[in-house]
């Protein structure tokens, strides 16, 4: 992913719905408008569970 993309864009690019995912960088929750930087490792967390 190119540096300077928003987290929302990263989630969408991965084929997911930003309403169904949260993003974490270095263990911290980041909002969807956060811009990514070179070397960032962003973990996407699915929020939907059920049963």
């Amino acid at each position: 992913m190119k540096a300077g993309s928003t987290v929302r864009h990263v989630i969408e690019k991965a084929g997911f719905n930003p309403e169904s995912f949260l993003a974490v960088r270095e263990g911290k929750l980041i909002n969807e408008a956060t811009l990514t930087e070179d070397g960032d490792i962003i973990k996407l967390i699915a929020v939907v569970s059920g049963g």
Binding site: E19, S20, L22, L29, T34, V47, V48, G50, G51
Partner: protein, 305 residues
């Protein structure tokens, strides 16, 4: 993006509330929203003992955490279902509950009921061997959980059982009930199910909170929870509806909230009404004493015959 309250860095943007909050203000908002929901629907009072049904997942642990922070007498109940399915699902879930207590609320009371140890079979075995369970482990599981929760609530003198159902859970059920015009369910679906004839009162303090926010709260507060969902819930219809509703939410922020809360308002205001099927009288089961419509043995006791 800046926090709407303090100008710090926002960790979450809640478009349906037009609110962006930093970690501290999000936690404050989340706890206060839960408290306002408890008051709005008159769920319970500070002096009442509440039993929180915990599964090791984000919603129930977040709920227990919030209730304890608010000073409620909230005890946890964990039901060991014995679901392994090669991922050690139940073992991991229990570990999450124990870790939560140890790390966040060391003096909290957690009741653990292990289905196999108490009754001789796990949910997985029951689902394979019993007529009721054939291909429907969730039906057996629901029955077992309802029975045990009710028993623990009754034995422990709890005023209510609180579950972590969030707005996404409720709106998905509403969608399912609407698509099938299940008028009996539409008449009953509510944030509070009142106590009746031996059935404990049930409350859902997270009904105005999106699932995404419950997960965010757990992450921000460092609450470790089980990411895996129950192996039997994979591909469930409810999850399919949740995904559909999130697609709607993406295009139309607030759509989920509107659908659910306006349904409650319309019903309460008499703009829509659904006829509830005639209530069958409940009688105590001759073995366990819990209420049943069946007469003689309840469905739970018949499971072990």
């Amino acid at each position: 993006v800046k926090c709407s309250k303090c100008g710090g860095t926002a960790v979450i943007n809640m478009r349906q509330h037009r609110l962006r909050l930093c970690a501290d203000h999000f936690v404050e908002w989340f706890v206060s929203m839960t408290q306002r929901t408890i008051e709005k629907y008159k769920m319970f009072a500070p002096a009442d003992k509440v039993l929180v049904a915990v599964s090791g997942g984000k919603d129930s642990l977040a709920l227990w955490d919030v209730l304890l922070k608010l000073g409620y007498q909230a005890e946890g109940v964990y039901i060991g279902l014995g679901i392994d399915e090669e991922i050690g699902y139940s073992d991991k879930s229990l570990e999450m509950c124990h870790n939560f207590v140890a790390q966040h609320h060391p003096s909290a009371v957690l009741h653990v009921v292990d289905v196999e140890a108490e009754y001789g079979q796990t949910i997985t075995t029951l689902a394979h061997t019993k007529q009721r369970g054939r291909g429907r482990p969730c039906a057996v599981c629901g029955l077992v959980k309802r029975h045990i929760m009710n028993r623990v609530a009754r034995d422990g003198g709890a005023m209510a059982i609180a579950t972590g159902h969030n707005l996404d859970d409720e709106v998905a059920v509403l969608m399912q009930n609407t698509l099938h015009w299940q008028t009996g369910y539409l008449a009953r679906q509510a944030p509070v199910l009142e106590e009746r004839e031996g059935l404990a009162r049930k409350v859902k303090p997270f009904v105005r909170i999106y699932e995404r926010e419950a997960a965010a709260y757990a992450l921000v507060c460092g609450i470790e929870y089980i990411y895996d969902e129950c192996p039997f819930a994979k591909g469930s219809t409810i999850n399919f509806y949740k995904e559909l509703l999130n697609q709607l939410e993406l295009k139309s922020p607030g759509a989920k909230q509107q659908f659910y809360l306006q349904f409650l308002q319309a019903r309460e205001g008499g703009k829509v009404s659904f006829v509830e099927a005639d209530r069958v009288e409940l009688q105590p089961c001759v073995r366990c004493g819990q209420p049943t419509t069946a007469g003689n043995l309840c469905a739970f006791c018949r499971l072990w015959e």
